[in-house]
Symmetry: D3
Subunit: 251 residues, 6 copies
């Protein structure tokens, strides 16, 4: 459905013609998402958003980065869960820097990074800062996720049955589960969605990591009340706002 915006499918001549358009780099993660969601949640969400946005703005979507920065206990369950594959910060940073350099060499001037994994942010921003110092004013770099641009009233539409636990705890919870029900229903094990108490938000970082501060399932807040419809509400609202950000950022 969105095959036409994928860089992967293009020949080099087709790709060369896109250089004045926006190139979107989706960055996800490979990270535990409890017993009801697969390890690819953040990557699926990043790619699906990227494709829909590219479709709207005539952009091109570069191959996704499927591995992200280190999951933290109280925003993603943390490194002790099998299947959570954590890059070092420096590795992610250099990966993003190299890709920005290469897109610029190919003539692109509008580079939009979409990250669906909270922990990625600081190291992507560090890469953008250093890349921007190198490439100057002619190259414009943008980073968003899907939750910060959401309209405040969407929270109310989504959290009709359970209270909003705060974004940090929205891991494998209502929003991500709803998004996966919308994007890839076949990958959601609905019968494994459990009633549970929310984890307590973190107020500090401690190493070695304390195992008992994360629920054993890896889910930080209940995914009960998730639905594909809620997924669609999030997607539609976030994309609408993101298009405005893109418009302003790449003016």
């Amino acid at each position: 459905m969105f095959e036409h915006v994928k860089m992967n499918n293009m020949t080099w001549q087709e790709f060369a013609k896109k250089k004045d358009d926006v190139i979107i780099l989706p960055i996800g993660a490979t990270e535990q998402h409890g017993p009801h969601l697969p390890l690819c949640v953040d990557s699926v969400i990043a790619e699906e958003f990227a494709l829909r946005i590219a479709d709207k703005i005539n952009g091109v979507v570069a191959p996704i980065l499927s591995y992200g920065y280190k999951s933290k206990p109280l925003s993603g369950g943390g490194p002790l869960f099998p299947g959570t594959i954590d890059l070092n910060g420096a590795t992610l940073q250099h990966l993003v820097m190299d890709l920005i350099d290469e897109f610029v060499k190919d003539g692109f001037k509008k580079i939009y990074i979409f990250s669906a994994h909270f922990e990625n942010e600081a190291f992507i921003v560090e890469a953008m800062d250093l890349a921007s110092a190198k490439h100057g004013d002619k190259v414009q770099l943008l980073l968003t996720n899907w939750w910060d641009p959401m309209s405040p009233d969407v929270i109310d539409k989504i959290f009709t049955e359970v209270p909003f636990p705060g974004w940090a705890l929205e891991h494998a919870a209502v929003t991500e589960t709803s998004l996966m029900m919308y994007f890839r229903p076949e990958l959601v094990r609905e019968d494994a969605i459990l009633e549970m108490e929310n984890a307590k938000p973190g107020t500090y970082f401690r190493y070695p990591i304390e195992k008992d501060i994360v629920p054993e399932t890896g889910v930080l807040a209940s995914a009960k009340s998730s639905s594909p419809e809620k997924g669609k509400i999030i997607v539609d609202d976030a994309i609408e706002n993101i298009l405005k950000i893109i418009d302003k950022a790449f003016k």
Copy 2:
């Protein structure tokens, strides 16, 4: 008043005796804080908290790191203001890693990092993660700031005249100004505190940085209604909660 907890003042023999106690590393920043506060705000706050906490727990305070990670427009005004001195992320990370290694070599097993600059967090945590992988279970590392451990009801006590703008915009605003009035009143230019509209919280990162998204003064929300009494409320509450965290983390 807190001279007895400063590592700086100790001879090596005196310091050697402290190795079973908690060593506190304060990390601040050198960063613009508008026309009414000096560049040292984050460093003063980090050190003053560290000294008071050390005094309570019989700890020792290591020399402060006065330079921090890169200020961002909508949490600190960003790099375009003179006086904002930004370390690269890798530099801060290696600095913290080296210091942890050295404290461990000197026999310390309880290392507490206190950061008063939001942007430092990701790179300090990366350093802690890598240091912990190296030193294993015998060494316990803790990081807090002063805002996350605060009791929720303190917000209500502080924001009696102006609404709480969110932590990101609390830069050179009521909380930091009140803390400086409490810690170092002689460094606060009270007549330079202005009425102003809050900056709008950031929902994306864009490079090169857009100059027009930060107020010209560098202040992100009004510091009106700040007072040393409010500073004391914050300090007393945060320290009380931090002592509980320390107790749990270094059990």
Copy 3:
């Protein structure tokens, strides 16, 4: 068809059960492949081989690395073609090192890297060497591509109409085109396959890169006579031999 071997589709509990099996990391590239093939050729080939091999040995396939090391003029057309996205060697090396570390932390002891892009090899091997020094004898690391394990007589079966130009020049030529016709026929632009003279094999490296040593199309030898049947011959033979290598390497 191979969904059951994809790590991406597993929950963390499902993935945790695979730890005594072989985990396969496919590494491709995003690189020009002339006017008849898309930029994803090396990534498609890497992933399709990985899936088939995993299916045979009850393994698990980790998410692919879609960006590889720098394309060279006389083995891939080189960096001057748009769409060829080159990582620095150090970046690829650290990426692979981080992933090996993480697989090992999750309990895996048999890690098989499949690369379909010649230029990746030296930096993957450097990563393996350093990772092996760290993890010791308990962790076994294996790297293959698809061309070195092929039986010598397959060359004769494939190159029935055009002479074998040597592996370096087999870029976007008969073998890769046949593989793509077998794996993803819808991505092959058959009418763009041209008669052409082979490029001359490189006997030196020169920088800045000489533009005139690579054909303008980016194809190094004619893809004429490619067919899905030839693709299947390669796949069947290479996998048979790779299974023997795996058997020996992970005994």
Copy 4:
């Protein structure tokens, strides 16, 4: 007394006005200095010199770096003493490079680094070399300590009772003790100053470090005969000569 030259005390607007003046970065160390001096000796000396020099030349003093490069046995007692906190060379180098970059971004063109810890020198110079290659002729970088610029005849005035043991062994000895008596008498434990034989100067480096080549106290030559008056002689003479160097270097 020197509060007006401290960058720490300035608002960003005040700091911005100083950009055509000299900015001084003091670099000290946290290092054992025997039983009669505190760990902050090198930092106190670096900062006190920097303040006095800034006062003379209308300069500005940036926050001090309180941690330095690795102490060596026969110039500082070495790493085996608790309280000696050693940065890796690369860390110090990158720290200095980042700070030079940031001062330059803020418009400064005359950057003066004052180090009071011998071992820092090679890594500061490496940072200066690389920063200078980046910033070119418009930015002038200067490094001094306090001992190399001293007039030769000052040695005679200081070493009236004990012979000059050479600069390497002047660790926690007459010159540093006299400087501390002048700058911070309250931190000197005069009754812990001992008669002792000098350590033997080093003629080689050996690892692991031999414990028996450094006196158990960490003092390398006797501090007997130290006095605040001698401290003043050193300060006055060194500053006079440093002002000439500054004048020549930043012409």
Copy 5:
């Protein structure tokens, strides 16, 4: 005999006059070469070729790099043999980058690297790529070895008694032994040349390295039938072809 082309022998004034000529950097290795050849084989060959080429083109030969990148089992015997001294890839890369930078600072624009150790290639090329990105079109960088430029028919002249085992296995075998007999006969232990079966070419990389895939002597194919005359044939042919490459590369 070639003393006049050695940079080592020149004063700085003599060297300064050569800046418009070609500077040649030979890179060898310190690596086991069986019981009949010394550890310096690759370094001797690199230097001897470099001297002869410099003599023909009025060039200058920089001091050799005697340590190279990691030997691999089936192209050099690998790291398990004593005397094989392996640099990390990053070390070799930075070494070459630094030297290119320095030759350029001294005014050289034609820099030719001659490597006689196969494994060096990828990391030298990475250094050249990054250096070229820095120095641009004015600086021309060339890399060759001695085997790729050889005329195909020379193989037939050399392998009269034993079949050509492929270049990977030509380690301490006929070509290298013949070259050493020609360049340094006194270093060849002829009576230690053994009849043997060839090692089997590698089709994969496996770590930890399998000891049993390399013959115990470290020789990968028999050196029987080596002679100084064959060494001369190789040298004469390779140099003739290399001169043409140089001519084209530095036009």
Copy 6:
């Protein structure tokens, strides 16, 4: 004459037998030494000392590192002279670390580094410190040069006609020239030895480097009165003292 101690000349089996002996790594530099000495002075001196010492202690001499750390104006003339080829500090450090690691892998436990270039010291020591932290007490590392171990009275024997200018200025002056007359008389241009005034010792570091602080010839003090006999005096005395250091260090 010393061919039997050169690692270069040994087969791997011969080298393997030396593992309980001392391995010596000579480190020189490629650096201007005025109009009367060649660029290889520091390398020749390093190697010649290493060979003689190895001969005395039954050691083995590894291939020399011919490139060293950055020459400084007032100890070596500095980087502005053609022919002075400067490695970055990090490059030299990693080179030495890699070599120590490799010697240790080959079973050596007594590693002696001989440097004949002053500026190398800090980065070699950093490498030794980090390598020692890795290898622990079983591996002993030693570094000397030739001037620090010299007996004080040798100065009087050498400086009979010109006064000793201090070691920093002994660049291309009496000691180095005498050593070269002793080791390699054919490389000394005696008629280019000039009367001259000494350079003034440095008391600070300034970048960009001031050209006028170094004599135009690159010689820092007159080499008049040099002789091979004086070279022999230095060699004999330094080696005698170095043998005692070795004895103590590797006990």
